[in-house]
């Protein structure tokens, strides 16, 4: 598609101007004097991090201002009509038939107790003058179009019988049935597995193009927005800081925040030379993990094998990334190496010694292997202060005196940038990024030689993610621990990893150096992963350039996700 068209001269379909929203109780301004427009058939992106007000601004277009939020001023003109003052009945006539909406979370955006057919029919019955047979034909047609293999069966199925990717396709079908003039898509692929993200996104673009529907795409993912949108609106803390043609924004960002956002995009660094050591720090041999079957009444259901004999090595100072889609077993692998999940076969060697064979080897490993978890809201005990949390791992260090512990904790907290006064605070008083810094401090306070990081930045905002990754890399260089870095995010992996292991369905399908995997992938699954998300590279002078790894995609085949 041709990104970067100048704003079309025709009358805009949607014109938002001076929109200001405040929280009623606190008077806090959440959307501040925002203005942007969307022309017929155009795809416009709103990019921002959490708290930027992008979702509120978008929902206001449909008249969905939450009761706690007050519309202070501004106008939203849709097709020449003012939305903010429209009578409820007329507003309802616009909703669905002229403006459609797709949500982030496919698990909660369809009614769980209503059959798909009926949910799709509702809008048609309301806005179109069709008989039941006509509606049915349209629905079947659309379900086929979005790639459902059995549209007839889907009519009488419930949402829980479909995967997330499929539900998002059904959601698209539901909205596009009415051929609205404008589609609001709020993070439509964020909750989906990487491999299906692109398919769903391309489907959305194709469908809207076919019907001449304009799209307002709301996302935190600058790469994706840049890929599909002709114009971009950048929002931060309720303000529109910059807007313009996608290519211009990427190549010549003007506002400091846009530059910061672009600078936060992960980029590949130079390959590192690591000292060659004889024994790997951690070696895993033929690791098998079975999840026991669920206990039913009189019998147990068959156990499910999550890992089919995994072998891998992590050398001193090396960062090995494990990538794969959901269900690939990458998280199970990390948990099993950390000792959180019992393995049913294979062995783990630490410094060449098998850890299951002797108590001393086990404890040596236990004290030297630490872990950073994904969710900083659940990984810190809410009833302990930051100081207590970071001190706790030192409890089992033999022969360490209280004063030494105190000094070490202070040192580590300073290292992660939480030096002054954070020790007395509690997790709920900290932001997500700060919490993840605490989690990292807790993992490195014992000076481990091996750290497992399970999606350590995937719950964080883009700019915070960049800072935390930076911190992690710095600590890794300083203390030289080896790391198993588990992630679904190829951009992040490309930035941090020395070596990459690709997993699918509990098996390693490919492994190699980062450059090998990213530049010359061999296995089909690796290629599929790489082609699913666009990459970014620096174009110098603060701008970036967007590219598809492995070239432009083949025509997208809708398939079950």
């Amino acid at each position: 598609m041709s990104a970067g068209n100048p704003v079309s001269e025709s009358k805009p379909l949607l014109a938002v101007s001076n929109l200001t929203l405040k929280i009623g109780a606190s008077g806090k301004t959440v959307v501040n004097d925002v203005g942007f427009s969307v022309s017929p058939g155009e795809i416009v992106g709103i990019v921002g991090e959490s708290g930027s007000g992008k979702t509120l601004a978008a929902r206001a277009i449909m008249g969905f201002v939450p009761p706690a939020v007050k519309l202070v001023s501004g106008s939203i003109l849709f097709d020449g009509d003012e939305i903010t003052t429209m009578a409820p009945k007329r507003l309802r006539a616009v909703r669905g038939s002229k403006v459609g909406m797709v949500f982030q979370e496919p698990m909660t955006s369809l009614n769980p107790s209503m059959m798909i057919g009926r949910q799709l029919e509702e809008g048609l019955a309301l806005h179109r003058d069709l008989n039941a047979a006509g509606r049915r034909a349209l629905i079947l047609d659309m379900l086929r179009r979005v790639g459902l293999s059995d549209p007839e069966g889907a009519l009488h199925a419930f949402p829980h019988q479909f995967s997330g990717g499929m539900r998002q396709r059904i959601m698209l079908a539901s909205v596009m049935l009415l051929k609205p003039a404008l589609l609001l898509a709020d993070e439509p692929t964020t909750a989906l597995d990487a491999v299906v993200q692109r398919d769903v996104m391309e489907l959305m673009v194709d469908l809207t193009k076919e019907n001449g529907t304009a799209v307002l795409l709301i996302s935190h993912d600058l790469g994706m927005v840049a890929r599909y949108c002709s114009r971009i609106v950048v929002m931060s803390q309720g303000d529109v800081v910059e807007q313009g043609a996608a290519d211009d924004i990427l190549a010549r960002p003007q506002h400091p925040y846009t530059r910061k956002l672009l600078a936060a995009m992960p980029l590949r660094g130079l390959a590192r030379e690591l000292p060659q050591a004889k024994t790997p720090i951690v070696a895993v041999r033929d690791l098998v993990v079975d999840y026991p079957g669920r206990q039913r009444f009189f019998r147990k259901s068959a156990p499910k094998r999550a890992l089919h004999g995994i072998s891998l090595e992590v050398r001193p100072g090396e960062v090995v990334a494990v990538v794969g889609g959901s269900g690939s077993g990458k998280t199970t692998l990390g948990q099993s190496i950390a000792g959180l999940v019992k393995s049913s076969g294979g062995e783990i060697l630490f410094n060449g010694k098998p850890i299951f064979k002797s108590e001393t080897a086990y404890w040596d490993y236990r004290l030297n292997c630490q872990m950073v978890f994904q969710d900083p809201y659940s990984s810190l005990d809410p009833r302990m202060s930051i100081g207590e949390l970071v001190t706790e791992p030192l409890r089992l260090v033999p022969g360490m005196r209280a004063a030494e512990k105190k000094a070490r904790v202070a040192e580590v907290l300073a290292e992660v940038g939480l030096g002054n006064g954070f020790a007395e605070r509690f997790p709920h008083e900290l932001s997500g990024g700060q919490r993840q810094r605490v989690a990292i401090a807790r993992a490195v306070v014992r000076r481990p030689s091996f750290v497992i990081a399970d999606e350590p930045v995937s719950a964080l905002d883009v700019t915070v993610r960049a800072q935390v990754l930076e911190l992690f890399a710095e600590l890794q260089r300083k203390h030289g621990f080896s790391c198993l870095f588990i992630s679904h995010d190829l951009g992040v992996v490309e930035q941090v990893a020395d070596r990459v292991v690709v997993m699918q369905e509990g098996r390693i399908v490919e492994e190699g150096s980062r450059d090998q995997i990213f530049d010359d992938p061999k296995h089909a699954y690796t290629r599929k992963l790489l082609s699913a998300v666009p990459g970014l590279e620096s174009s110098g002078d603060g701008g970036v350039r967007l590219f598809w790894r492995l070239g432009e995609p083949d025509t997208v085949q809708p398939k079950s996700g």
């Binding site: 909703r95 009614n111 509702e122």
Partner: protein
């Protein structure tokens, strides 16, 4: 679906077994010898020993349980010490009296409280919501025996609209039967409105936050359609479960209301038997109510997929 139903039914069996054992053990723990109690002042050591043998009390506990349990399976709960009547028919006749009060009260309370709760949630934090929740909390806080006394004082003694105490079987005289039941039913009705309304509101609030409600609104559906078709059905599950618990709890707790209005129901039978130390009847009542409770909850569970098709797919 069939599997789901069978699983639920089979799962209730161990519970019922343990319930039976617990009741049996509990009754054996009561201090005092049933035989000497039954014979009263006329007891002689010989007659006590004779009666003990007839009641099977001289056997070992497991044997006693075996005999008792095999009778239980045949529906034989034994004979009342005081009235010498067989217990099951006695319980059933009393149960009918209590059940009609409880069922009617809970049915009408649900009919009023569920829509009111949904509307309160829909209008969260408005005056209407605060009023409804406030009223519900107030009703919930008034114990049924006092509410009953107040109704009795007001409608019975002051206004003299309704008879103060007593009971006439509806079978004997439908009109008078109903008249006598109005106040006890009204008492439970008012109390349970409070309980059910709060639950209906809470679970509707949970559902109203979800994306599919916004999706329904985004289709252009009217608020009525959003509430009824999308919110209500998904929100009703927890309330439905609560109604089951309420039914069971009322069967256990109805004694106080029956005492206020002197109605010969199941609760009163149990309390009178405790006073009279009529152990077989205590035992029978406890078993019967617990079984009803398990049964009601089973039926509630089996209906649950209507509101949430996901439960059959575990």
């Amino acid at each position: 679906m069939l599997r789901f139903a069978l699983t639920r039914i089979v799962m209730a069996i161990p519970t019922l077994l343990i319930v039976a054992v617990s009741v049996f053990v509990l009754i054996r723990l009561i201090p005092g010898d049933p035989a000497s109690l039954m014979l009263g002042d006329l007891a002689t050591p010989a007659s006590i020993a004779d009666l003990r043998a007839r009641l099977g009390l001289d056997q070992s506990l497991p044997t006693q349980f075996g005999i008792w349990f095999s009778h239980l399976l045949k529906g034989d709960l034994g004979i009342s010490i005081n009235s010498q009547e067989p217990i099951l028919p006695l319980i059933l006749s009393r149960f009918w009296v209590s059940a009609q009060i409880v069922l009617v009260a809970v049915f009408f309370a649900s009919l009023v409280a569920v829509p009111a709760g949904v509307i309160a949630a829909w209008r969260q934090d408005t005056t209407l919501d605060l009023g409804l929740v406030g009223a519900a909390t107030l009703l919930l806080s008034i114990p049924t025996f006092w509410l009953g006394l107040l109704l009795l004082l007001f409608f019975g003694l002051k206004l003299e609209w309704l008879p103060v105490v007593g009971y006439v079987s509806i079978g004997d005289d439908p009109w008078r039967g109903i008249i006598y039941l109005i106040m006890p039913i009204l008492t439970l009705f008012l109390h349970e409105i409070g309980v059910i309304l709060r639950m209906a509101r809470a679970s509707t609030l949970e559902v109203l936050r979800l994306d599919y409600i916004t999706h329904a609104r985004a289709k252009g559906l009217s608020e009525g359609a959003v509430l009824w078709r999308h919110a209500f059905k998904n929100a009703f599950g927890p309330t439905w479960t609560l109604i089951g618990l309420v039914l069971g709890n009322l069967l256990g707790g109805i004694a106080v209301v029956e005492t206020v209005f002197t109605i010969p129901g199941l609760g009163r039978l149990l309390v009178d038997s405790i006073f009279a130390r009529d152990y077989p009847v205590i035992q029978g009542c406890m078993l019967f109510v617990a079984f009803c409770y398990v049964l009601v909850n089973l039926v509630i569970d089996l209906c649950y997929p209507i509101f949430d098709p996901r439960v059959t797919a575990q």
